[in-house]
C-alpha cells in the first residue's frame, strides 16, 4: 500500500515576529506617553515649548557667565564687549569673590581648616549610624570624605602641619572603618565634643569635662537601673551628672588647664555665619530633637495623667506658634526667664529653642508611627514579660520609627531650611545675613539672581540628598511585601 507522503512538513517553529512598528520601541513609547489623546498631544507640545523657552534663556545666561571681575559694572562691561550690547549673562565673579564668606561667615581665615575638618568628621561620625556599620560602604565613605577633605584643605591654602594632621587622622579612621566598622560608633559618641572643640576652640579640657559628665551619667544609670528601674535610675544619674557639670567640672578642668594648657585659639560666636552657621544649628538641633521627640511621643501616649497632660500641652503650644516667635523668645525673652546676669551665647539659645520646636513636630510624627502599630505588638511584648522600656526598645520603637522615617526626615529637611530664619534675630545666615552684606557692597549693588541661585542650589543639594537617603532607608528597612 502506498502511503501519501506530504509534500512539505515544517520541521521547526517559526520565530516570533516583531510587533508592528507602531507598537514597539520609541514609537510605542511616544504614542503611549506623549500623544495618547489629542489633549495629551497639546499638553506635550505646550510642555516642550515651555521647557525650550526656559532653557533657551537660562542656559546661555549661566554658560556665558563672567567669572573674573571686580564689580557688577565691570561684569556688565565684559558681557557687553564679548556678547553684544543687549545681551544678558550671569556674573559669577561675585560668587568667586565671596564664596568663602557664604560658607564660613566671618570665621578667622587662618582657621578655615577647623570647620572643614569638623564637617568632614561629621560624615565619618554619621557613617556607622546611616549605614549600620556595613563595612564596604563605611570604608568607601570615610575614604571619599578623606580625599575630599585633602582637596578642600589644599584649596583653602591650609598650612602643611594641619593638612598632615588631617591626613593622619583620616587614614587612621579609614583603617578603623576597615578593621572594625562597628567601632566607628565611638567617634559618633565623641563627635559633639570634638565638633565643639574644633569650631569654638578654647581649652581642650572644657569639652573633655563635659564628656566626663556623660560618662558619669552612663555609669550611674547602668549601676542603678537593675535595682530601681529605668526612670528613677535615669533621674538619679541626671542629678549626679548635673552636680558634676554645675559645680565640680569647672574646678577640675581649670586645674587640668593650668597643668596642661592645650587648646585652639577661641572663636567668638558672632564670627560664625553662612552655611557654617546653618549646619551648626541644623545638625545640632536635628541630633538633639530626635531623642526629645521620642520621649515626648511616649509621654503623650503614657497612662500617667500628669505626664500626658504636660506632653500634650507642650506639643500643641509649640506647634501652634510660628518658629519666628520662638526665635524671638530666644533673643528677647530668655534673658527674663534665667537668673539675672546669666548671659549665654545667642547661637546656643537659638539652638535650644529650635531643638524644642522641632522636637514637638517629631513627637507628632512618631506618635503617628506608634498609632499605626497593631495592638497585638504591644500585647505580644507584654506576653513575653518585657517591662515598659524593654518593650519600647526591642519591639515598639524599631517598628514605629521605621514607619515614621519619611515624616521624620521631612521634619529634618524643614528644620534645616528653617535655619535661614535665624537671620531675623540678627545672626548671619547664608541667605539673609551674608547675601544682604554682599549685596550692600557698592561693587555688587543690584545683583540678585546669582547669590540667591548659589545659596538655593546648596540648600537644594542638602535637602534633596536627605530625602533621597530617606527613600534608601525606607527601601532597606522594608520587611513586608506590599
Amino acid at each position: 500500500m502506498e502511503t501519501a507522503t506530504p509534500i512539505f512538513v515544517r520541521n521547526e517553529m517559526l520565530g516570533p515576529k516583531e510587533p508592528p512598528t507602531s507598537q514597539r520601541g520609541v514609537v510605542k513609547w511616544f504614542r503611549e506617553n506623549l500623544f495618547s489623546t489629542p489633549l495629551n498631544s497639546i499638553l506635550t507640545v505646550i510642555g516642550v515649548a515651555f521647557v525650550y523657552l526656559v532653557l533657551k534663556t537660562v542656559v546661555p545666561w549661566v554658560w556665558n557667565g563672567v567669572w573674573t571681575a571686580s564689580s557688577l559694572s565691570e561684569c556688565r562691561q565684559i558681557i557687553a564687549e564679548t556678547l553684544g550690547p543687549d545681551s544678558h549673562a550671569a556674573c559669577w565673579a561675585m560668587i568667586a569673590e565671596r564664596w568663602k564668606q557664604f560658607i564660613y561667615g566671618f570665621y578667622p581665615m587662618d582657621s578655615y581648616w577647623r570647620p572643614t575638618l569638623a564637617f568632614a568628621l561629621m560624615f565619618v561620625a554619621l557613617a556607622p549610624v546611616l549605614y549600620f556599620g556595613i563595612r564596604h560602604i563605611n570604608v568607601r565613605m570615610v575614604g571619599a570624605v578623606g580625599v575630599l577633605l585633602m582637596i578642600a584643605l589644599w584649596g583653602l591654602g591650609t598650612d602643611g602641619a594641619h593638612i598632615g594632621l588631617a591626613l593622619v587622622l583620616m587614614a587612621a579612621l579609614t583603617a578603623v572603618a576597615w578593621v572594625a566598622p562597628k567601632k566607628l560608633v565611638w567617634l559618633t559618641l565623641l563627635y559633639p565634643a570634638i565638633g565643639f572643640f574644633l569650631l569654638w576652640g578654647g581649652s581642650v579640657w572644657g569639652p573633655v569635662g563635659a564628656l566626663l559628665g556623660f560618662v558619669i551619667l552612663a555609669f550611674v544609670w547602668l549601676g542603678l537601673q537593675r535595682q530601681v528601674g529605668v526612670v528613677v535610675a535615669g533621674g538619679i544619674a541626671l542629678i549626679t551628672a548635673a552636680v558634676w557639670w554645675l559645680s565640680v567640672q569647672t574646678h577640675v578642668t581649670g586645674a587640668l588647664h593650668a597643668a596642661m594648657p592645650i587648646g585652639l585659639p577661641p572663636v567668638r560666636s558672632d564670627q560664625f555665619g553662612g552655611f557654617l552657621l546653618a549646619f551648626v544649628i541644623g545638625v545640632t538641633a536635628i541630633a538633639a530633637s530626635l531623642p526629645i521627640g521620642i520621649l515626648l511621643a511616649l509621654g503623650r501616649r503614657s497612662d500617667m495623667f500628669l505626664i500626658k497632660t504636660m506632653s500634650v500641652g507642650f506639643i500643641e503650644f509649640v506647634r501652634g506658634v510660628p518658629l519666628i516667635t520662638m526665635l524671638f523668645v530666644a533673643s528677647l525673652l530668655l534673658q527674663y526667664f534665667l537668673p539675672p546676669q546669666t548671659n549665654f551665647d545667642l547661637i546656643l539659645r537659638v539652638i535650644i529653642l529650635v531643638t524644642l520646636f522641632s522636637a514637638a513636630y517629631i513627637a507628632e510624627v512618631i506618635r503617628g508611627g506608634l498609632a499605626a502599630l497593631p495592638r497585638g505588638q504591644y500585647e505580644a511584648a507584654d506576653a513575653l514579660g518585657l517591662d515598659y522600656w524593654q518593650a519600647q526598645r526591642l519591639i515598639i520603637m524599631p517598628q514605629a520609627l521605621k514607619i515614621s522615617i519619611p515624616g521624620i526626615v521631612s521634619s529634618f529637611i524643614g528644620l534645616f531650611k528653617d535655619t535661614t530664619l535665624v537671620a531675623l534675630v540678627g545672626l548671619a545666615d547664608p541667605l539673609q545675613g551674608i547675601t544682604k552684606i554682599a549685596r550692600a557692597d557698592i561693587n555688587w549693588k543690584g545683583i540678585y539672581w546669582e547669590p540667591y541661585l548659589f545659596v538655593g542650589l546648596i540648600f537644594f543639594a542638602c535637602c534633596f540628598s536627605m530625602s533621597r537617603y530617606s527613600m534608601y532607608l525606607e527601601r532597606k528597612l522594608k520587611r513586608d511585601h506590599r
Binding site: 506617553n33 504636660m310 501652634g320 540678585y448
Partner: protein
C-alpha cells in the same frame, strides 16, 4: 487543719513606692509635679527679679497709647494717631488676608500639580516633578526674598510709563507699558489694579471702629438670598427627577437668579471700574498693592502648593487601582474618573495633611518680616515692641493670638474632615 482563705495581706512598705509597679507611676508623677512646680516657680522668680532689676512691670496699658507709626497696607482705617491695639488689629488682618488668599491659590496650584504629576504624559509629569522638588527643597525665605527683589528691582519706575509730547512727536514708545489693556500697572513701587466703585454710593456707618459700606452689605444679602432661591430651585428639579425620571433643565434659571438681582442693583447705583492712571510722579486711582504683599503671596502659594501637590499625589496613590479600573470598565472617561471616582475618595486621605499645610502657611506669613510686610509680627511683635520696650507683654500677646488662630483653623478643618469622612456603621 487550717486553711488559708486569703493570700497573706501585704502591708504597705515605703520601698513599694519605687519597686511596686502599682505605686511607681504615682511616685513618678508626684516627683514630676514637684519638679515642674519648682521649675515654673524658678522661672517666675527669675522673671520678677529681672523685671525689678530693669525697673519694669507687666502692664498692658501701652496698648491704648498712640502708636505713632504708619502701616502701608490697612484693611481698616488706621493713622499713626491710632492706638497700638489698633495697629495690632491691622497687622492681624494683614496676616489673615495673606493667609486666606495663600491657602486658596496654594490649594488650586497643589491639586493641579499633584494630579498632573501622576499624568500619563511624560513631559507634563516631569515638569511637575521639577516644580515640586525645587520648591520643597529650598527655604521659603529664599522664595520670598527673591520674588520681592525681582518685583521691586526688575520693574520700571512710574515715570517710565510716561508718554510725553516729544515722544509722540518723534513716534517713540514709553519704556514701560501697562498690562491687560492698560488696566494693570506694575511699577517698582507696587502693583496698581482697577477697583470697583459706585457713581451713586450709598454711604456707610462705622461699627466698633470698622467701617461698613451699605452697598457691599446689600449686595452680599442679595447674593445670599439669590443663592438660597437657586438651591431651592435645584432641589425642586431633583424632586421632579426622582418622581418622573426626567430632570428639568434649570442651570440657566439658577444662573439668572444668582446674577441678575446683584447686577441690576449694581447697575442702578452706577457700578464702574476705576483704572489706575499716571498722575504726577505716581499712579493714582484703582487699588495699589504693595510688592511686599504680592511677593509674600506668590512665594507662599508656590511653596505651599508644592507640599499640597505631594499630599494630593499621596492621596490619589492611596486609592486602589481597582477603583480606576472599575470606573473604566463602566465606560467612564479618564477625566471624569478622576473627578467623580478617585478624587472624592482621595479627599479623605488628603484633608489631614492639607490642614497642617494651611496651618504652616498661616504661621509662615510671619516671614513677611524679611520684606517688611507689616503683619501681626511686624506691628505688635515688631515696631510696637521696639517702641515700647515691652517684650514680655508683646510676645505673650502675639504667641497667644497665633495659638488661637491655629486652634481655630485646625478646628474648622477638623469639622470639615469629619463631614466628608467615610461614614462607617
Amino acid at each position: 487543719m487550717a486553711y488559708v482563705a486569703d493570700a497573706p495581706k501585704e502591708t504597705f512598705r515605703l520601698s513599694m513606692l519605687i519597686y511596686d509597679t502599682r505605686y511607681r507611676s504615682i511616685t513618678i508623677q508626684v516627683i514630676v509635679l514637684i519638679l515642674a512646680l519648682l521649675f515654673v516657680g524658678w522661672l517666675a522668680d527669675n522673671t520678677i527679679k529681672n523685671l525689678a532689676a530693669k525697673d519694669k512691670d507687666i502692664n498692658f496699658s501701652f496698648l491704648w497709647n498712640r502708636a505713632g507709626y504708619d502701616i502701608g497696607q490697612q484693611l481698616i482705617p488706621y493713622t499713626n494717631d491710632s492706638t497700638h491695639s489698633r495697629a495690632a488689629v491691622v497687622g492681624l488682618l494683614n496676616t489673615l488676608v495673606v493667609a486666606f488668599f495663600g491657602c486658596i491659590f496654594a490649594t488650586i496650584l497643589g491639586v493641579f500639580a499633584g494630579v498632573l504629576r501622576l499624568s500619563n504624559n511624560w513631559v507634563v509629569s516631569r515638569i511637575m516633578t521639577v516644580y515640586v522638588e525645587t520648591f520643597r527643597n529650598v527655604p521659603l525665605l529664599l522664595w520670598i526674598i527673591l520674588s520681592f527683589t525681582i518685583l521691586s528691582e526688575v520693574t520700571s519706575p512710574p515715570n517710565a510709563f510716561r508718554l510725553t509730547d516729544e515722544m509722540i512727536a518723534s513716534g517713540q514708545e514709553p519704556a514701560a507699558s501697562m498690562l491687560f489693556n492698560d488696566s494693570v500697572a506694575i511699577t517698582n513701587r507696587g502693583t496698581d489694579i482697577p477697583w470697583p466703585l459706585l457713581e451713586r454710593p450709598m454711604g456707610g456707618a462705622e461699627f466698633a471702629g470698622v467701617p461698613i459700606n451699605f452697598a457691599v452689605v446689600i449686595s452680599l444679602l442679595l447674593l445670599a438670598a439669590s443663592v438660597y432661591v437657586a438651591r431651592r430651585n435645584s432641589q425642586r428639579a431633583r424632586k421632579t427627577q426622582e418622581e418622573t425620571g426626567e430632570r428639568p433643565v434649570v442651570w440657566w434659571q439658577n444662573l439668572l437668579v444668582v446674577v441678575l438681582p446683584v447686577a441690576a442693583f449694581l447697575a442702578w447705583r452706577g457700578f464702574h471700574l476705576e483704572y489706575p492712571e499716571l498722575k504726577g510722579f505716581n499712579f493714582r486711582g484703582g487699588l495699589s498693592i504693595a510688592h511686599s504683599f504680592t511677593a509674600l503671596l506668590i512665594a507662599l502659594s508656590l511653596y505651599t502648593g508644592a507640599f499640597i501637590a505631594e499630599a494630593v499625589r499621596a492621596g490619589i496613590l492611596a486609592i486602589s487601582k481597582g477603583q480606576t479600573e472599575a470606573a473604566y470598565a463602566l465606560g467612564i472617561r479618564p477625566g471624569r474618573t478622576m473627578r467623580l471616582v478617585v478624587l472624592p475618595q482621595a479627599l479623605r486621605v488628603i484633608i489631614p495633611p492639607l490642614i497642617s499645610q494651611y496651618l504652616n502657611l498661616t504661621k509662615n506669613t510671619t516671614l513677611g518680616m524679611a520684606i517688611s510686610y507689616l503683619d501681626l509680627k511686624g506691628t505688635l511683635g515688631g515696631i510696637t515692641l521696639n517702641q515700647t520696650g515691652r517684650e514680655l507683654e508683646c510676645m505673650m500677646l502675639m504667641m497667644g493670638i497665633y495659638l488661637i488662630l491655629s486652634l481655630i483653623i485646625s478646628s474648622v478643618m477638623n469639622a470639615f474632615n469629619a463631614a466628608v469622612k467615610l461614614k462607617e456603621r
